[in-house]
Symmetry: C2
Subunit: 330 residues, 2 copies
């Protein structure tokens, strides 16, 4: 894999992030404004890192899990992977006239997002199943990488790949510099995220957990391949997050970051472990620089988790107050 070479947009983002980090030699989190959120992060990292201190945590147990959509990058007006699936659907539909029977396909091809949103997960998953199956992970990642080079957010007009949060890029680097192992635990498709997680987040494929299709092992013309099937293997959302963390990581995180009710189970489970903990929620309250939504949003609804965060004293990050900069290009 020629990562750095093949993947121009991501390399750009990474360079931007790196430039910022090198510039602010004194402050490892320059895109975080001083305040309770930044202080909570620094205090937490200091105490788990203090050898002989009462809250010291051995590096092997410094597991931090991050949601992706709405936590590491934006998710409005719809999960970015859905735009990828939609573009692929448009491309593939002419050779699959039988797909027209599907209500979800009809709505998607007609651009009727409201109707599709009403179908909930079922509609999205049907589109993903149709457009993502029959591929190997490598083929899927190649398609996603190519798509990310040019695909733009319909509202913000930016490249999707540039809509990662600069403060989060800094947080990931800061945690790893202090012995943490950083994982993505996302409702998004695992191969889609792996297409850019190393380049953009510095997170290798084996530390990405996501939703997945079932797969089969087959000899295609004598060559062994693992090919995706159109059936869902795992939905890595809600209760699926702690269940998959147990399966893939086998340790309870000491820190978890999310932004929606889909992250609540992961945060609850992280919170209930022994020893020092940091639970964080990104609150999208910045319509000017990003998007503003919470309790009533179809995408990334934040309601129960916000209530529990306030009740239990979890860290609620206000994008408008806590982020000095939102995107690397700001």
């Amino acid at each position: 894999m020629k990562r750095g070479v093949a993947f121009g947009a991501a390399a750009l983002v990474a360079m931007l992030a790196f430039a910022t980090l090198s510039f602010a030699a004194g402050d490892p989190l320059p895109s975080w404004r001083d305040g309770t959120s930044k202080q909570a992060i620094v205090d937490f990292v200091d105490k788990v890192n203090r050898k002989g201190g009462p809250d010291f945590v051995p590096p092997a147990q410094r597991i931090a899990t991050f949601d992706n959509d709405g936590t590491l990058w934006a998710e409005q007006p719809m999960y970015f992977q859905f735009f990828f699936a939609l573009d692929r659907l448009k491309q593939m539909a002419p050779s699959h006239p039988e797909w027209k029977k599907s209500q979800a396909v009809q709505a998607a091809l007609a651009g009727d997002m409201a109707k599709l949103a009403k179908m909930g997960h079922k509609g999205l998953l049907e589109i993903v199943g149709l457009t993502h199956s029959g591929l190997t992970a490598q083929q899927m990642q190649k398609l996603a990488k190519d798509w990310l080079k040019t695909a733009r957010n319909p509202q913000r007009k930016m490249l999707f790949i540039q809509m990662v949060y600069q403060p989060m890029l800094e947080l990931l680097v800061y945690l790893r510099a202090h012995g943490f192992k950083t994982f993505i635990v996302s409702g998004g498709g695992v191969d889609f995220i792996r297409a850019f997680s190393q380049d953009v987040y510095g997170i290798p494929p084996e530390q990405v957990i996501g939703s997945s299709l079932k797969a089969k092992f087959e000899l295609t013309g004598g060559k062994p391949e693992v090919v995706k099937l159109p059936q869902i293997g795992s939905i890595d959302d809600g209760d699926g997050k702690p269940i998959n963390i147990e399966l893939h990581i086998g340790q309870r995180p000491i820190m978890a970051v999310g932004n929606s009710d889909g992250d609540l189970a992961m945060l609850q489970w992280t919170a209930s472990g022994a020893g020092p903990r940091l639970m964080m929620l990104v609150h999208h309250d910045d319509a000017a620089r990003e998007f503003a939504y919470d309790r009533k949003s179809h995408v990334g609804r934040l309601e129960k988790a916000l209530d529990q965060a306030r009740r239990d004293g979890w860290t609620v990050v206000s994008m408008s107050n806590d982020f000095a900069r939102v995107f690397p290009s700001d």
Copy 2:
């Protein structure tokens, strides 16, 4: 987790392994006799590590996967986890009279291993489902750790935990010292292996892939827990190995080590990637020091994989010829 303290037997094994490694300063693989197998390992590691060389592989892609039963530790006269399940079955059976209806349970309680073996995977999985469900991963690991402190192999009379292969312990250390990330990919239960993988093999829980039960997230008395269900989630054997490697690691290994036909798909898939590759099979041909079995064994049958290894020039490790020492205590 107080790993080193809580786990006496494993700590002993680790110490033994470490003593050996420090002693032989000149040779990182002192328990391997000079020969084609040892040479294949050293040549492979040298070439992927040679910067600027034609076979250089960046460390991030140096993924090595190891089977466990029969590859890292012994597996006769039956997978060790099965003895654990059997002991647990005996303990639990009196409070579960309904289990007596099961043929597998009857055979197990009567010690009729031949009958149980005839039922194949189905019988074993039924026993595992009954005895391993309803537990959290943490509870399961505690039970396994306690059991491993005293449980002995009925044929060899050694503690099971001492029946790990000293040459393999050295190989794992050697690979990691050269930038490899070592993974276990086993048909055994993931939590059972995680109970000792860090202490004995130096492999952290997030690098252990195994068979698993489904699980549910629940609030037990207000405390969130992930609890195992009696349904199989994944059988990490045969085709399941490359499928799970894709799901959990997301990269094709450049090196894979196994000992049975259950490892064939993993080895085929590893072999078919581009660039330098090392496929290894441990051949159990040492009845005096360990066990001798291959084509006709019910446990760890090695037939198709042995044929393909010989045809394709994979490295077949002869225990009797290539292992100067088998167990740490030898």
